[in-house]
Assembly symmetry: C2
Homo-oligomer: 331 residues x 2
């Protein structure tokens, strides 16, 4: 993970190799795709998903008979494919939501419009599956295609319950599991499978990814109310204005004295800057942000516990360190 995690050099090298595979996979003669492609390559995130594939692939010493070179190649290609899938989903999300800023930069949608955004996303999916096909492991492809289906389902569910003040915490958790955690879990499990893990270890990897992914989204949803716009790299309270009710808001809605005003505001679907500011501070005041961080902490504890079967060493250390990084991050 770019600039966050201290890793031993041999793992750093493996994770950096993913970047080159991504760049190669996206080399295209099309002059029309080149500019939006270069933009998203420059605007890449921390690379959590590919790092998880690589780390889980190397979580065990030499697995039954598979030479290290083959493991390295498989992990690198699947990691690159996972990142391409993630990038595709972000590009498509931004066009669906009409978002103009992400990670402090303009989105492809803002810079180039809907057409290049939809098509660039499709191109990224195609390249991802091209890489996965090289890996020739049907189980891994199935993990990724299932994760994409889950993301689509989560996004649609989120849209279906927009502005619905009767949303439950349970419904919210199911939604963020589909939208965010399932792909992260697929990355971990795919890594474990590539590394020759036992079925129990592969199940641990998946569980780790699910808990980490849920914690990641919880933290994101808390940050939306407490980070400032520059730190966050995108406008704050964007979800709220779009009617996406996250855990901090659900807590506010359940609050005895502050809840009714929040409900009126949300159901009116009219947010002037003043009412957004009011929700922002009310969410903190009612303990919505604290609750969300507390839930994230619980998930991360369970995630860390999922590494207990792994042999002690730098990979296990990195996987537990990631659980601490998730909650400390600012964007």
């Amino acid at each position: 993970m770019r600039g966050i995690l201290e890793l031993p050099p041999e793992l750093e090298v493996r994770i950096r190799a993913v970047d080159r595979v991504i760049e190669d996979a996206l080399s295209s003669e099309s002059k029309h795709l080149a500019r939006p492609r270069d933009h998203i390559l420059a605007a890449r995130g921390k690379g959590l998903r590919p790092a998880l594939v690589v780390l889980w692939a190397w979580a065990r010493p030499g697995p039954g008979g598979r030479p290290d070179e083959a493991r390295d190649r498989a992990a690198t290609e699947v990691a690159a494919a996972a990142e391409l899938i993630h990038m595709a989903s972000l590009v498509h999300d931004d066009v669906i939501d009409g978002s103009t800023t992400r990670r402090g930069l303009e989105t492809v949608n803002a810079l180039f419009g809907a057409r290049p955004s939809v098509l660039l996303g499709d191109f990224l999916f195609a390249r991802a599956f091209g890489l996965l096909a090289q890996h020739r492991d049907f189980g891994v492809v199935e993990l990724m295609t299932d994760a994409i289906s889950a993301m689509c389902e989560g996004e649609l569910e989120q849209a279906a319950c927009a502005f619905s003040c009767d949303e439950t915490e349970e419904g919210y958790l199911r939604r963020i599991t589909l939208k965010t955690a399932r792909l992260i879990a697929a990355c971990c499990r795919a890594g474990a499978v590539i590394g020759g893990s036992s079925p129990e270890e592969a199940a641990d990897a998946r569980e780790y990814g699910l808990e980490l992914g849920i914690a990641f989204q919880l933290t994101d949803d808390a940050l939306d109310f407490v980070a400032d716009e520059r730190e966050l790299g995108k406008p704050t309270c964007q979800d709220l204005v779009c009617g996406v009710l996250t855990l901090p808001v659900l807590r506010l809605l359940a609050h005895e004295s502050l809840g009714p005003r929040a409900r009126d505001l949300i159901e009116s679907r009219r947010f002037d800057p003043e009412s957004v500011l009011w929700v922002r501070s009310a969410v903190v005041e009612c303990g919505g942000v604290d609750l969300t961080y507390e839930r994230a902490r619980q998930c991360l504890e369970r995630a860390a516990a999922c590494t207990s079967r792994l042999p002690a060493g730098p990979v296990r250390d990195a996987l537990t360190a990631i659980t601490r990084q998730v909650i400390a991050r600012r964007r």
Copy 2:
């Protein structure tokens, strides 16, 4: 192909089996995906692409050692994947173009909006690659991922030269090759590979698909000016209004007396109903429609010639019959 082509019963059965694989691949527990999915299943086209995979896969008698059952399964799965990729691209095209009607029915975009359209397309791509992974042939996956990249490139190129009256016939042909013919060529070649064809025969299959695909698009572009809206299943002259200048219009633009008025109209980007009607009749008057059909006929002759190396029999007959059907179709 649904209700167009007379095929011997054993081939009919194989092509019908593709429909079941498509329906199975799209079975999803998501209630949010169910309605748009059911709509596109009901609005499916003639199934040209899957038919081509199946026909080319069975163009030769028993290939070196591969049992018929394995060939049947591979052809059915790859044919279903090809149709899913085609469906995904149409759903994404309709959202990009804001189209409201296709094949006489409302589009997913019109009925459900941009979000479900983008996400349903992604879901279809994921399911397509899930099927291709089952087939476990990297070469076939590569054919399909390259075809998707080509479609994206063609769509972007088309957008980049919208309303550009200096577009050449050569540029137009390159664009429709990318947008339409490359996927059709990939279907034919994938079928031939599955059927155990020699490299020469696989190259013939690709060439057949390219010529057929170009002819298909040429006919489409001619129909846009001569079919009536009910026959076509979508509004006529839609391309023109969006600035997509097809061969009939390029011929009009080159016409000595009619060209200048057409150029003024197109460059003004303002089409009232009267000026659209004028372009429609001027395109016919200047021979633009005849020229386009003539080019399509030439392509189809070359396509038919690509079947000459195949053994005589019902499959070869069907492949040449398709070349006649393409030009005779009304939508």
